[in-house]
């Protein structure tokens, strides 16, 4: 391990921990860490009720990472901001920080008996490229084999957070044999990994049964034990309705429930153990269209933000299940996050002043502001597959509140088809976008504010922001080798986007679970909150 890596790791640890502790206290973040090992029961079936069912177990969607994490292992492990070894025992960076050499463990076998080695890493790379839609944002360009258990990872840009990426659930390893010979269907339903669990059966619409990998002996150092998982079986069920999940936990049919209804969150904290994890990356944020329409005017953007009481909305709608987030670029768990929660407090008078100044002085019959005969109208299409029902409710309150200052907000729900087909994604289609992106690195700025992607409009740029200078500044921050300077540069950028009100945060995408009191040891991965059932065990009584 070379010097610069340690420094980076320490710096990011410090920053992230501060951010987390300041912003969002999570009671019992490590559920029952103190569980009495003497009462532990070996074996048993853990039933977890989750919300969404992805098409395949593995892929680029965070819903898939939740599942992949159970059957795959990763090169490194992300432990509270610190990078720890896992399948790679040791690594070093080249001076230009664009090549990282990983030394691999030699005792790891896939559940189909295939060996994990440099060839296996190389065999997985094309799979990642094909299967992870946003792969190019990681700046990875490929692996080369140095010897049977040594590989070199090549990057197009230096990326200090590449370790977070490699640890984040998507970049797991499948057996080379299965990649070469299994049918697409097998690869989709039951990919073969080295992880603590293997898929036994996926009943679509119902759930997945995982069986313990009895040969497992290569847990990361931040796990609580090594060797096979404590429980013998993991039943991962898909239950779309929150109330039903809550009922299942109450009745004892489930041991762990994803996202209980917000109205029951206080109860959940009382009656059960709970875990919360604020996802890294971008929070649920409002991105204003700065390419055309009324929000090209900074005053109008700011007025919109002053007009909404974000803190109170989030408190009322989410009832503690998700924290308010002021920053529109980075969530509070993302490395190098800057807290801007106190900017833009709820101030209707200020909003009105700003709008008047921007020339929206006329009023129509319904009280909406007009300028040159045009109503101050903002369309906000949102994908129902991505914004949960409570997010949609928050939008309704926003709609009601901006009406008070004369802004007409059209909240337009899109079906899954429309959403995934990229409907209403052109500058002419909308004035405001609403959405999040789970991403373990501050280079999210590069992804969401970049005008062009390979010469074509960048679909991730929801604000249609186009400013070569800022783009260069983002890349400069990204390339900055000194952690302190890098933090400063990213802080400046975050502050700039906040001041400009190009995007403002509303709430953080939060992964909450409620856990039965008889299940201990369950923990959430500190990279993107993935549940780790490997350490979970039942206790007597």
């Amino acid at each position: 391990m070379n010097k610069s890596f340690k420094e980076i790791a320490q710096a990011s640890l410090a920053l992230t921990v501060t951010a987390l502790s300041v912003a969002f206290a999570t009671p019992g973040a490590f559920a029952a860490d103190a569980g009495d090992a003497g009462q532990r029961i070996n074996g048993g079936t853990i039933t977890y009720v989750h919300e969404q069912e992805p098409p395949c177990l593995w892929g680029g969607w965070v819903q898939q990472a939740y599942l992949s994490r159970q059957v795959f292992d990763y090169l490194v492990s992300y432990d509270n901001g610190k990078i720890r070894p896992w399948l790679a025992t040791d690594w070093s960076e080249s001076p230009d920080r664009k090549t990282i050499t990983f030394h691999l463990r030699k005792d790891v076998v896939f559940t189909d008996g295939d060996k994990f080695n440099a060839d296996a890493v190389l065999a997985n790379y094309p799979v990642w490229v094909k299967g992870i839609g946003w792969h190019s944002f990681t700046y990875m360009t490929g692996f080369t084999k140095l010897d049977a258990y040594t590989v070199a990872l090549h990057l197009s840009e230096p990326n200090p957070e590449i370790y977070n990426v490699l640890a984040n659930g998507h970049y797991g390893f499948q057996s080379p044999d299965s990649i070469a010979h299994n049918t697409p269907e097998q690869k989709c339903l039951a990919p073969v990994g080295t992880g603590p669990w293997k898929v036994q059966k996926w009943t679509r619409g119902e759930g997945i049964t995982f069986l313990r990998n009895d040969k497992y002996d290569w847990a990361p150092p931040n796990a609580h034990h090594n060797g096979p998982a404590y429980a013998a079986q993991l039943d991962w069920k898909f239950v779309p309705d929150a109330t039903t999940r809550w009922g299942a936990l109450l009745s004892g049919e489930a041991d762990v429930a994803y996202q209980p209804p917000s109205v029951q969150w206080k109860n959940a904290q009382r009656q059960f153990q709970t875990l919360s994890f604020v996802a890294t990356g971008r929070p649920q944020a409002l991105s204003f269209n700065v390419a055309r329409g009324p929000f090209t005017d900074q005053r109008v953007r700011q007025a919109f933000v002053y007009a909404i009481d974000r803190k109170r909305i989030v408190a009322a709608v989410f009832k503690g299940t998700a924290p308010y987030e002021g920053n529109g670029s980075l969530s509070r768990s993302t490395p190098l996050y800057l807290n801007v929660d106190d900017d833009y407090p709820y101030d209707v008078a200020k909003a009105n002043t700003l709008l008047d100044a921007a020339g929206w002085t006329g009023r129509d019959a319904q009280g909406y502001r007009t300028k040159d005969g045009k109503i101050l109208d903002a369309r906000l299409p949102f994908n129902q597959a991505i914004i949960d029902p409570e997010g949609a409710v928050a939008l309704q309150v926003i709609q009601d509140q901006v009406k008070a200052v004369g802004i007409k907000l059209d909240v337009i729900p899109l079906t899954q088809t429309q959403g995934f087909a990229g409907a209403d994604s052109q500058p002419a289609d909308k004035e405001i976008s609403f959405g999040y992106w789970v991403w373990p690195s501050p280079n999210i700025l590069d992804i969401v504010y970049n005008d062009k992607l390979n010469g074509f409009p960048n679909g991730n740029n929801l604000s249609f922001f186009s400013n070569a200078k800022i783009e260069a500044q983002i890349m400069d921050a990204q390339r900055e080798p000194d952690p302190k300077l890098r933090f400063q540069k990213f802080a400046v950028l975050q502050k700039w986007f906040d001041d400009q009100a190009i995007a403002v945060g509303v709430y953080d995408f939060t992964y909450n679970v409620a856990i039965s009191k008889k299940l201990k040891g369950l923990w959430q991965d500190k990279g993107n909150g993935l549940l780790n059932f490997y350490d979970a065990y039942f206790v007597k009584g």
Partner: protein, 293 residues
């Protein structure tokens, strides 16, 4: 052929006149009165909701969320403090519009398809009849899903999708009815008198084939409201702030463990409308059948 002297079992066969009360209003069963009142209430709500509502349907009140039914909020408030009663009242227009509109769409399609399939020239009637056979096994919901996917989730696409989803069924009924009327004595009598086919269609077949459908139409309005709310429930319905009833149910689901009223009252509204239209429809049906006997 049976002689029509079957008196037994129908001793009041010649007593078909509607009993009338003194002021000349037909004496209607209590259930019809009640149904009428319900329809009237919702009709007013649809025409001018402000006459019946107590609050704004859209104004949020974050200090007063999920409060149970009380004098201030007759049916309680929702998760962002909106008055449920007023939301139901304001949602009436859209819900009923979807019900009526879907029925209108279904009826229009069914009339064109049904009559053409029954009476059109052979080269079109045959294939059309087969087309109806193809559409029938399509689950209504699948057609609806397709249309919502095509048009996006909105009241219009709900209306069109439910309408088109139910068209084939009605078209088949109209076809059967038209064929039946075409074989009736009065059509033959008109033919024997020397009327043209067109006149006979206009004077006899069209109105008489449609007659028994009047009841079905009212039944169908209620059913359409239920179907549309089902689609809203699947998230394929009207935009969120809109208080369409299906959307209310969908929204209430999340809080049902602490706020039963959010799920119960919109459901009752839907059932009441479906029930009232059905009652009236069945009454009309009974009357019209009585007249046809």
């Amino acid at each position: 052929m049976t002689a029509s002297t079957t008196e037994f079992g129908r001793p009041q066969a010649d007593q078909k006149t509607v009993p009338r009360s003194r002021i000349g209003v037909p004496r209607l069963p209590v259930s019809i009165w009640l149904s009428g009142l319900v329809v009237l209430f919702f009709a007013i709500a649809a025409i001018d909701p402000s006459l019946l509502s107590t609050h704004s349907a859209f104004e949020t009140d974050l200090l007063n969320t999920l409060s149970p039914p009380s004098v201030g909020h007759l049916l309680g408030t929702d998760d962002i403090g909106r008055d449920l009663y007023s939301r139901i009242v304001w949602g009436t227009r859209q819900s009923l519009l979807i019900g009526l509109g879907a029925m209108a769409v279904a009826l229009f399609g069914a009339l064109v398809l049904g009559f053409t399939a029954a009476l059109g020239p052979k080269w079109i009637a045959g294939p059309l009849h087969r087309l109806l056979e193809i559409l029938l096994p399509f689950p209504i919901l699948l057609l609806a899903l397709l249309f919502v996917a095509l048009l996006g989730p909105s009241a219009t696409s709900l209306l069109i999708s439910v309408g088109i989803g139910t068209t084939a069924g009605y078209a088949r009924l109209i076809r059967a009815q038209a064929l039946k009327v075409r074989k009736s004595g009065y059509v033959e009598a008109a033919l024997a008198l020397g009327h043209s086919e067109r006149t006979i269609f206009r004077q006899h077949i069209a109105p008489n084939a449609f007659r028994p459908l009047v009841a079905l139409v009212t039944l169908g309005i209620g059913q359409s409201v239920v179907w549309a709310s089902g689609l809203s429930f699947l998230g394929l319905g009207v935009a969120p702030p809109s208080p369409e009833w299906g959307a209310l149910l969908e929204a209430g689901k999340a809080s049902i463990t602490v706020a039963w009223w959010l799920e119960i009252f919109p459901g009752i509204a839907i059932v009441l409308v479906a029930l009232s239209f059905t009652q009236i429809g069945r009454y009309v049906q009974d009357r019209s059948e009585g007249n046809l006997q």
